[in-house]
Point group: C2
Chain length 332, copies 2
């Protein structure tokens, strides 16, 4: 089953809706409207049916996943019928990020990228990468969806993408072990971790993790494919194209840490919640840095993941006149 989020116009302005995605027919089905209609046909009053449909299919994917069985069962029932009514053609859809995570986490699990990245920057990876499945955190406010323009803060000269899988969490959990972590995986989406390489070189030595070099945009979409549709999480085909040209192609094999280990580590001593998205880390060859290339304003970046679809974003124009701090004098 493929589930997404779109924006529709309502009497109070833009409104988020959950949709069932039918890529082979280039359409989505508005889940709330479909359920509302179905309930009324079955004898519910219009008003009560609407209240129920609002509760089962809220605008938040995180809230829907957190509801659990009433959400997934109602969606599966509509998926089994795939009615024509309440459909919107892909041409007319205004996509929202496939999930609205409470926090963005992004790992570093593909051996190929760790090698490629460190060869390019001319420094060996720290041996601590072998000790724990490191990840960084991103704020949830700059998540963007399919077809969205990517904000480009003007202080960035070296813009890059990162091709990743997004693991969408299905159940609240704390301190999982790898052997039961996959029970908490709801589905897979595509995750584009846009990265400012010049800014990263300033921030990374501080050791507190990326902020300005990452927190301007995380592409999440176009939708989520539920985990039951994947035969093997370590053999998912992945590709990135820039302006139609393939810049990277491979699959999700050759990982330093398994999906279960990454999720278990993310939950260790803390909490992961439904709708959270954990990036797999960049596929080997999944960044332009590894090719000595960079993105330009106006570039169209497409990420294709087998079993999901294509996440497409266009780079915006640099935002001018932003503040930048003045360097301080040494005090030690």
């Amino acid at each position: 089953m493929k589930l997404g989020r779109i924006s529709v116009n309502g009497p109070d302005g833009a409104e988020a809706r959950l949709v069932l995605v039918v890529p082979e027919e280039n359409r989505v089905i508005d889940l709330k409207r479909a359920l509302h209609e179905q309930l009324v046909k079955e004898g519910s009053s219009r008003e009560s049916a609407l209240q129920y449909a609002n509760a089962v299919f809220p605008g938040s994917m995180s809230a829907a996943i957190a509801l659990g069985t009433p959400f997934t069962q109602a969606a599966e029932k509509i998926n089994a019928k795939r009615p024509d009514a309440h459909s919107i053609s892909f041409d007319s859809v205004n996509w929202l990020p496939a999930s609205d995570p409470s926090v963005v986490r992004d790992g570093l699990t593909f051996v190929g990228h760790i090698k490629g990245f460190h060869e390019k920057i001319g420094a060996p990876p720290t041996p601590n990468l072998l000790k724990v499945p490191g990840y960084f955190k991103g704020t949830p406010h700059t998540v963007i969806g399919h077809e969205a323009e990517v904000p480009w803060p003007g202080y960035i000269q070296y813009m890059d993408y990162e091709l990743e899988l997004g693991y969408v969490i299905g159940k609240r959990a704390e301190s999982l072990r790898p052997e039961n972590a996959l029970d908490h995986l709801f589905g897979i989406t595509i995750f584009n971790d846009f990265s400012a390489r010049d800014c990263q070189a300033v921030e990374m030595p501080i050791g507190m993790g990326p902020t300005k070099c990452k927190d301007f945009a995380y592409g999440i979409g176009p939708w989520i494919t539920t985990v039951d549709e994947f035969k093997d999480l370590d053999r998912i085909g992945m590709e990135v194209r820039v302006n139609g040209e393939t810049w990277g192609k491979g699959d999700s094999s050759n990982k330093l840490w398994t999906v279960g280990e990454l999720i278990a580590w993310a939950s260790l001593g803390e909490v992961i919640v439904p709708g959270d998205v954990i990036g797999s880390g960049t596929m080997g060859g999944g960044s332009a840095l590894e090719l000595d290339r960079k993105l330009q304003p106006g570039d169209v970046v497409e990420m294709i993941v087998e079993g999901v679809g294509t996440l497409r974003n266009t780079m915006g124009q640099p935002i001018p006149d932003l503040w930048w701090p003045e360097e301080r004098k040494p005090f030690m």
Copy 2:
């Protein structure tokens, strides 16, 4: 004005309430109940008054601050009268975190701590600390309030506290400049950035920022003092006591970056939202590491900030039997 959050029992279980705090009388006033009663006295129907009071004083501090004027004006009106009704004595209060931030950010602005920390670890600070006001991000799910027991994941041997101010954001903003950033500051709370020094030594070299060494607990409370009550943000007295003994004392002077610069940087190219808490970074001498000391299970940590109050937490017992990853073999 001092505003906090507490938990009360309701027919559906625990419920969060916003309160006006009157420390000099050791009591809080339930804002929703006080407003409800006031409106009914003024002629509103009980039901409509309750709906309105729910909207003005929700259980979420972030949502209340985001509402803006209707929230602050109603709170100020109750603060002017300070009715006896709907009061709860400090003895009976079950405190919640003073805010429920969308994301935790924590800076590094006090020169004394940067010096003290790097002297102890025997390595010089990176010169990049002089270039930008670095900060790390924490997940919002492990924020704890006044009097809460601090969860102690069993993999931590070297437990520490960090004495900080918490800057609570008042208005949604993007790409502020330092000169107007303070307009977006709602108030000050106390921020205890509990830190696992052993775990930090494993994570920091990876460069993606702290995760397991920080994300188990952030103390935020006991309440928020609105910014109008502070004469000088750079002269706020701060102290930390462990089991009643003073381990660190100083004030909020001697900063590498101003409060305005830290907030502006946090908002640069991204979004800060009401209720977000930005830690000032540790006061010089505000960590046990700087004293070659460490916390033990059962220790009581008190942080006293002039104009706010005392944030008190007791360290829990180590949580046993957690998973820890097996080290990988080198691949480069």
